[in-house]
């Protein structure tokens, strides 16, 4: 049950309709966009529900139980409620910046999915610069947070936006270097090539001792910080900042930030699964099931972090990134380079 065959069949149906090639490509891309959007909307709604369930069970509660079986309709009900809310813009806000901030956050979160391989042959576009593109395009998230912080004209929002920007910029460096460690071995930035270089289970980068696991742990820590989740959730520390950068947002604009956050969490996990856990490779089951399983497993780990660790202080946060993660990731990169040079992994 490979999904790629179905999409190939649909594409050939479109080609056989006799339209010019340019129109076929445009229609195919628009359709791919809509499919991706629908898929990610469902994923985000599911993750919100799952996060509530996981947190509840970690704290020995049940979480949402009343709307549908074990509360599975809860997030749908919440989304409908948010859609009906009045769109409130504070009178002192910078209106255009206030409006565009959630839009940019939302679009930046979705743009990464152009080159994430969901399965065998299941990728919107296998770009040459794959992973570099994803890292580059997701930096727009920082801009959107800063815009939200400035546009709201509220001291809590401003502080939250500043903190999150400082945090994302700091943790981006170790994250990039841990990704670079993998690229060193694949000799390609294309996501499909990265997956293909991990065909056997002992080739998965997480199992390539000793640099693989180190790079994976650095990636996971930096990814948690990039998505502003506990123990790195200072941008929205409730006790200090009420809600952080999105304090003035309500209704659909708040929902856009919220969905973008969960889509970002899924992105970080999907990249982690692709780079370190062999992507869609796996025996017996169809490739897309393997991909989803690995990604959701990483999502679960991120949730587990969130509900078990206390929050760091601002100075601890920065020190941890610059004085610990960065040197370790550099040392790891040099180690991986030496191993590559000495042909330690010839398989």
């Amino acid at each position: 049950m490979e999904m790629a065959g179905l999409f190939k069949y649909l594409y050939e149906l479109l080609v056989s309709s006799g339209l010019p090639q340019l129109w076929v490509d445009i229609i195919a891309l628009i359709c791919a966009g809509f499919i991706m959007f629908g898929f990610l909307a469902v994923v985000a709604l599911f993750l919100v529900w799952w996060e509530r369930k996981v947190s509840a069970h970690i704290q020995q509660r049940f979480g949402p139980m009343r709307t549908g079986w074990h509360g599975w309709l809860q997030t749908i009900a919440d989304a409908i409620k948010l859609l009906q809310k009045e769109d409130i813009i504070p009178s002192t806000a910078d209106r255009s910046v206030f409006f565009w901030a959630p839009v940019i956050a939302f679009v930046a979160a979705f743009l990464a999915y152009v080159c994430i391989p969901f399965g065998k042959g299941l990728i919107v576009s296998d770009l040459n610069i794959g992973i570099l593109y994803i890292v580059a395009i997701t930096t727009f998230t920082v801009i959107s947070l800063l815009m939200a912080g400035w546009g709201s004209n509220n001291k809590y929002a401003l502080l939250g936006g500043m903190r999150s920007a400082a945090q994302i910029v700091s943790y981006e460096v170790p994250m990039m270097i841990s990704i670079l460690t993998i690229v060193l071995f694949t000799e390609s930035l294309s996501m499909m090539d990265i997956v293909q270089s991990q065909a056997k289970i002992y080739q998965w980068y997480i199992f390539r001792l000793p640099f693989g696991p180190i790079a994976f742990i650095i990636y996971l820590i930096a990814g948690t910080a990039e998505t502003n989740r506990t123990p790195f959730d200072l941008p929205e520390a409730e006790q200090e900042l009420v809600a952080g950068f999105n304090i003035e947002y309500s209704g659909m604009k708040f929902a856009m930030f919220f969905l973008a956050e969960f889509v970002n969490m899924f992105t970080v996990s999907a990249i982690g699964a692709t780079l370190f856990l062999g992507g869609w490779q796996g025996p017996f089951l169809p490739s897309w099931i393997w991909f989803m399983g690995k990604t959701l497993f990483l999502v679960f780990i991120l949730m587990w972090f969130r509900w078990t660790y206390p929050r760091l202080r601002v100075d601890q946060l920065m020190e941890f990134s610059w004085k610990f993660l960065l040197p370790v990731s550099f040392a790891n990169l040099i180690l991986a380079g030496l191993m590559k040079y000495s042909k330690w992994f010839n398989w």
Binding site: L127, L132, V135, T139, I143, L158
Partner: protein
């Protein structure tokens, strides 16, 4: 068809870039100027993609949008009362600026007119990231190292400046 559509995209991108660049220099609110600057830089990345230089485009977005613009916005946010009436929002050195900009424009026009643009019929290298990497590590290793040393010096300089006396 191919050439036509890429030309259309080029004019569209140029239009966006020029309009955004005009906004950068004419808007009164400096935060809005910074945001339009981001749009300009992003548009330039689009031009790079049009020229089949994807690696350069990604690096452009990563460095200019992800780092330089964030730094500019940080500086704006940390400056107190930036949009209040106490700070003059107009420039007093218009004449000087006009002269410098005109000189810069002339210099760039002259260099564009005097450069011999080499156009080859050879196909594009399939992996241009690989080619750039090889060139940086072989033919251009000295400039590459010098730039690295300059950046390192800037980094150390910033730390020395930011460090308080006696700590």
């Amino acid at each position: 068809m191919e050439a036509e559509s890429s030309q259309l995209v080029f004019y569209l991108l140029s239009f966006i870039i020029v309009i955004a660049a005009i906004c950068v220099v004419t808007l009164k609110n400096i935060f809005h100027s910074a945001l339009f600057l981001i749009l300009v830089l992003f548009g330039v990345a689009g031009i790079y993609i049009l020229l089949n230089a994807e690696f350069l485009a990604a690096v452009q977005v990563l460095i200019y949008v992800g780092a330089v613009s964030v730094l500019i916005i940080f500086a704006i946010m940390l400056t107190s009362h930036l949009t209040s009436r106490k700070i003059k929002q107009s420039n007093e050195q218009v004449t000087l600026a006009v002269f410098i900009c005109a000189g810069f424009l002339l210099a760039s026009l002259a260099s564009i007119a005097n450069t011999v643009w080499r156009i080859t019929d050879r196909p594009m290298p399939e992996h241009n990231t690989l080619t750039i990497g090889k060139l940086l590590m072989n033919d251009y290793v000295l400039p590459f190292e010098i730039v690295s040393v300059v950046l390192l010096a800037a980094l150390i300089g910033a730390i020395v400046l930011a460090r308080k006396e006696g700590t």
